[in-house]
């Protein structure tokens, strides 16, 4: 028999009470483990989403969104300002325009459909190339039969039109130099088929003859019915020198994205709409951070509960064995020995509670994490995917993030397990400290008092 074995033996002195203490401890330790697991899994996911968010920043003139809305394009000075912003490593500038039937000899490959018709109903009849000559008093007068137009994108980087975020697929011919100013174009595969264009053939636009350099495919019907030209070419042809309607800037490192965004916001004020992938990603993981915080609160709460359980149990036990402690001191036991014996007893209860609780936590942490995550997801998905216009790759990436949020996998790492054990020991120590103080205050002379 030594101090430790007496403590261990004492822990089983009142099986019912010990059982209740162990059960309560097991529940709080189980909760601690599953909350730690939820927290670390969610944090891992947040880090993952943020690191994969990329470093692109989109800058649109205020009010311009694709072909809809108004607004004034950026001037070359404004573009220079963007390029001069620190940490921006490269930019892709784009100018969008549309070719009506008077501007070109090409036939649009787009069917207007009811959506297209509605979009063009505001256009003045003059702007429309083929005002119906048989304009009678029927509904045809208010809804003239418009012809669809052909979208032209002038860009410094033809790859930015690709919908997959990578480089543009050229199905025949070769790509164009975006920074040049030649009268060349890439033609979408649908438009090319409709007008029997192949690399080397020519068409007329803005009164000039343009040579087809290559045919591209994106898989997107709207894109594949369009034309891509070097930015400078389109600027000259449309008499908008230096103007751009869409800029994508690449930041040198993800750490600098926020700085770039705020620098741009300072430069442009309300003249530009600026969005970063990282910003969008941060909004989309906001609910995950809430879960992480909730889980941390859970860990703290369960730790306090566990410590209070041990503390109250040990205080109760010490009070009950007051006389016994006095006797041990009277026959020559030191306070330290008595304290060690009670700590051993508290540790025994805590360790049994921990074994049961950690087992419980392992079983419960998976379902707990996924239920915490799914219950907070409905609000998240709605915040992504509102950006239209040429920044499609960008948008797709965010859509991907949205679906990934529901796929937080809970995993019990050794670190998480170690922290759970550390917290358990903390519980035992806190739970024993106060009773130890009580023990040291018990005077051995009390044993001679007959109450």
């Amino acid at each position: 028999m030594n101090v430790i074995s007496r403590g261990v033996k004492n822990s089983m002195r009142s099986p019912l009470r010990s059982g209740a203490i162990v059960l309560m401890l097991a529940i709080s330790i189980g909760l601690i483990l599953s909350m730690l697991v939820a927290r670390s899994s969610v944090n891992a996911k947040i880090a993952d989403v943020k690191s994969s968010a990329g470093t692109l920043v989109t800058i649109n003139p205020a009010g311009i969104n694709g072909f809809a809305g108004g607004g004034t394009p950026f001037t070359s000075d404004q573009l220079a300002t963007i390029k001069a912003t620190p940490h921006i490593s490269s930019t892709t500038a784009t100018l969008s325009d549309q070719l009506g039937s008077t501007d070109t000899n090409l036939t649009s490959s787009l069917e207007l459909g009811s959506f297209g018709e509605r979009q063009q109903r505001f256009d003045s009849p003059a702007a429309s190339s083929s005002t119906s000559p048989t304009a009678d008093s029927t509904s045809a007068a208010t809804r003239p039969a418009f012809t669809p137009r052909t979208a032209v994108t002038g860009t410094t980087n033809p790859d930015s039109v690709a919908t997959n975020g990578g480089s543009l697929t050229i199905s025949s011919g070769s790509t164009i130099n975006g920074s040049g100013s030649d009268l060349v174009a890439l033609v979408g595969t649908t438009l090319a088929t409709k007008n029997s264009l192949t690399p080397g053939s020519t068409f007329t636009a803005y009164g000039k003859t343009i040579t087809v350099s290559g045919i591209f495919t994106t898989g997107n019907t709207f894109q594949d019915s369009g034309i891509i030209m070097p930015l400078a070419t389109l600027q000259t042809l449309t008499s908008q020198p230096g103007d751009v309607t869409h800029v994508i800037a690449k930041v040198d490192s993800s750490d600098n994205v926020n700085a770039v965004v705020s620098a741009l916001k300072t430069s442009f004020g309300d003249k530009a709409d600026i969005t970063s992938e990282a910003e969008q990603a941060a909004t989309s993981v906001a609910s995950l951070s809430n879960i992480a915080n909730l889980a941390l609160a859970g860990v703290i709460g369960a730790t306090i509960a566990g410590a209070v359980i041990v503390l109250l149990a040990m205080v109760m036990i010490v009070r009950e064995r007051r006389r016994e402690i006095g006797v041990i001191k009277a026959i020559g036991g030191t306070s330290q020995k008595v304290v060690a014996q009670f700590v051993a007893e508290a540790l025994t209860l805590t360790i049994i509670g921990a074994i049961v609780g950690l087992g419980l936590g392992v079983l419960v942490s998976g379902p707990m994490t996924s239920s915490l995550v799914t219950s907070s997801q409905s609000s998240t998905t709605a915040t992504t995917g509102t950006n239209r216009g040429p920044g499609r790759a960008f948008e797709r990436g965010l859509g991907q993030i949205g679906t990934n949020l529901t796929q937080v996998t809970s995993s019990i790492t050794p670190q998480v397990f170690a922290s759970a054990i550390g917290i358990t020991l903390l519980i035992a120590i806190i739970g024993s400290a106060v009773p130890a103080w009580f023990i040291s205050r018990i005077r051995p002379a009390e044993v001679l008092r007959s109450e």
């Binding site: 028999m1 030594n2 007496r6 033996k9 004492n10 002195r13 006389r323 016994e324 006797v327 041990i328 001191k329 009277a330 026959i331 020559g332 036991g333 030191t334 020995k337 005077r443 051995p444 002379a445 044993v447 001679l448 008092r449 007959s450």
Partner: protein, 226 residues
């Protein structure tokens, strides 16, 4: 040799200061069997707790073999209790979840006896006070009052103390059993030359001891057979 000089102990209670012992002086020779009598509240237990270093006096000296135990540090007092003193209580005060044997071994542990020697020594002590082998493995709740008091005497003797302090050791026992316990203590003081100081209500028993001190309101009133 135990020598007490001008021992005073007062307690601060909500109703004022209580003088439990007032200017008590006495000498006890080594190996003597001494009894202390007195009414309830006269300070008998307080005197024993001073002699056993369970508490420190307000003033005065207690010399045991030329060491003033009233002036020892609390760690030294604990060591003094473990090696020099054996306590026997009215309520036996055995540790309830330890067997008779383990109770005696506990005292041996505190006395610094090597762990592998404890068991044999405890068995010898218990059989010397009349506790049989099967009874030695029982917990106190499964022993009679007389048997429990024998176990507690074995525990008190464990470290061959200089002094055994017994506070009404027969108080909870019927007179016949009390008589036997008394005889056990008496024989010990003879064979081991252990000083025994026993508080008792039983004047019959007191009459058989070497000396009897009488306490009244914390003061020593009568020295008989001195």
């Amino acid at each position: 040799m135990l020598s007490v000089k001008n021992l005073t102990k007062s307690f601060n209670s909500p109703s004022g200061t209580v003088k439990a012992l007032e200017d008590v002086s006495l000498d006890v020779d080594t190996g003597q069997f001494v009894s202390i009598i007195g009414k309830s509240g006269s300070g008998k237990s307080t005197l024993l707790s001073m002699l056993g270093a369970l508490d420190t006096p307000t003033s005065g000296n207690i010399h045991v073999d030329d060491v003033d135990i009233a002036k020892l540090s609390s760690a030294k007092q604990t060591a003094y209790r473990a090696r020099k003193i054996g306590f026997v209580f009215q309520q036996y005060n055995l540790i309830p979840n330890l067997t008779a044997l383990e109770n005696v071994m506990l005292a041996l542990e505190f006395g610094g006896v090597k762990s592998r020697e404890r068991k044999a020594r405890a068995e010898k002590l218990l059989s010397d006070v009349g506790i049989k082998a099967d009874q030695q493995l029982r917990k106190p709740s499964r022993l009679s009052g007389g048997q429990q008091q024998r176990v507690s005497i074995a525990r008190a003797l464990a470290n061959r103390p200089a002094i055994i302090l017994a506070d009404e050791p027969t108080g909870n026992l019927d007179s016949e059993t009390g008589q036997k316990i008394f005889e056990l203590l008496h024989n010990l003081s003879r064979s081991e030359n252990t000083t025994i100081i026993a508080v008792t209500h039983d004047l019959d028993i007191a009459g058989k001891t070497d000396r009897t001190f009488s306490l009244k309101d914390g003061k020593l009133t009568k020295l008989s057979k001195s």
